[in-house]
Amino acid sequence: MRCARCLLQLQCLRLVGQTARSAAQNGALLHSASSSQPNMLHNTQHQVLRRFHGSPVCAKMPPIPAEFIDEDGKKRDKSLVTRDDLFEQVAKDIKTKATFNKVVDVFIKQDVRRRGHVEFIYAALQKMPEFGVEKDLAIYNKLLDVFPKEVFVPRNFIQRMFNHYPRQQECGVQVLEQMENYGITPNMETKVLLVQIFGLKGHPVRKLQRLMYWFPKFKHTNPFPIPKELSEDPVDLARFSLTRITNDRDAKVTVYQLPCTDITESGEEITLPHVVGIQSPSQMELLAKHNPSRPVFVEGPFPLWLRKKCVYYYVLRADPTPPDEKVEEPYDPERCFYYSLQLDLDLDRDFGDEQSFNVEDLDEGPVFAMCMTGRGEQAVLNQWISGLQLNNPILGQVATLFRIDDGPKELLGAADTESDHHHRTDPDTRTEDRQHEGEAEVTVDEEPSRSQGIKQ
């Protein structure tokens, strides 16, 4: 009997040694191996497998692969954080996907019984962002593969009724939750693994089913989608973000300056930042109608978030037109012959939708153009304005004021906050304050000089 047991143990060793292979294969192997055994042997093998968790004989020390024992011959201490140590030992400085895989492999090979796999998986989940593998589905599958197969599957209805192996199930759910947080959809392999490990009705499998139900539903909810990998090129990024915020298909993106590095005669290096602007036809129309006696403002930088990246843009805008200057434009009945542009029904009902809201013509003042640049200096933005002047000759007659904050780091809608402070301190002198503010931080760009510059 002892002989047979030894043999079976050996067989088990061989079987478990193969776990590095893919899960499906593994399962098949296990099945075929066990089914090929004679009946009695089959039973004993199960007994041996069940000794997986808590055999007093093998509980001493996990064998450490020779290559990872310190030169001094010190054994690992028995502290609670040994699993973290494994990561530190194996992946000393290079933290990549390859080393992460290696750590998992080392752990799998270390001990046939996978002693302490729950702690190891928790430690691995924590270390994932460090190694830069937190968005890698293969790695998650590999982590799930660390669980011993078919041990935690409930065997009878009582086990199924109660929480079978709760710590292990929690750990499995935690792996799935981290996948959920990083927005990774599980695949078939994940499902096969989980079913093998926890059985069809375990909590992790339930969690997986929930993920698979909701993720596809929410996949395309964003009406303004952002690609997963944002472009590294600043011009491309600027083009993408400007078209996103404009909300007008006809808007034209113009690259006023490409980023480049020049070396002057004196040997200094000059980096020219990129200047990318956008303007839609309706914005041009608005600008053409702008009263030349009122100044236009270049404001910014304002933040725009694209997933976790923050970019900054500048706007060219004006103060809202005072009500006495507003001109009501009558509808030209000949503009459209197919349907009337104006309905004058006097029904005793509320028809609901207001059609009067125009996105361009805000009560906060119209926006005429937007731009993004690498360096938010007045000189750079001036280039944008002079570029705009080619298409909008009215900019030659209008005074342009620059209300720019120092650097993208310190901006937070500063125009608003600042005027607010003034109000809080001295609300009565608001208008005067505004004027002072304007004089203090705003440089009036003298119109003739710029047009001269363009002529030259």
């Binding site: 929930r210 996103r244 304002f302 933040p303 725009l304 976790k308 939708d353 937070l412 009565d428």
Partner: protein, 288 residues
Amino acid sequence: MSLPKMARLPSVRLLSSIQQQLLPSIAPLTEPRRAASRYEYRRPGEPKKDKYPFQPVNFSFSKGLEGIKKHFALLKKEVTDRWVGPEGKPLLEHMLEQNQVLWEFRGPESLKQWTVSSDHEIGGQSEAHLKLGRNNDTCFLYGTLSSTPPRDGETRYSGYCTMRSQQPLRSFDRKKHFDWSNFNTLHLRVRGDGRPWMINLATETYFSHQGDDMYNYFLYTRGGPYWQEVKIPFSKFFLTSRGRIQDSQHCVWLDKVNTIGFTLGDKADGPLPAGDRFHWRQQRLRSH
């Protein structure tokens, strides 16, 4: 053609908006910060404060008098409103109305209908404040978002900012619910900075253990200087409890809506000048 919207606003707000037009510079633009949450953060393991429950209660006489005045005025209004029609509106208007402006930001009064909170109350480091925008007709939510969880050994995730409307109350602090069963769409006018938000509808529940149930949907902002009009049908909302989507979903009890909230928690740490919203209304879809 359209019923006058202003008439549906409470008279206080009407007055304040008129006042704004006359004297635009007098109204202060920032609302003083109100207490963000009911409970302060207690680190696990810290002893509870040794206070009797009645100690924080303010027993002043003047407050009592004010309360009596307020509640009896509300009671009188409730009684007389019945004679006019449902919800104090004539029946015809009630039946024919296609949209109803529920919250709009006109003057500092309107900020009092909102509670702003952040993960500060679970020990996080985010901050959020609410103030009126430049022209006094928008509101502006700003602050910082930081997803560093507190080092208390329990909290795993952190990093949110929330703005929630206050529960409407009848006289003597009885709960009142919004009845939106005549409408099917939530209509917001928003300007964001590109971050996704979440809209939370909290409804009255039958059992007390459902107290954390909320109906959520996403609010995606485009970013940029333009305002967005967002229409979200109530049928889109899904049931969650404590941040977990529930397996058995139900539709919103539209006649028992308590509060609406907006949450930001997109894990992108950084300042939040999310020139968020402003003025929204809900409306019924037209059938054609």
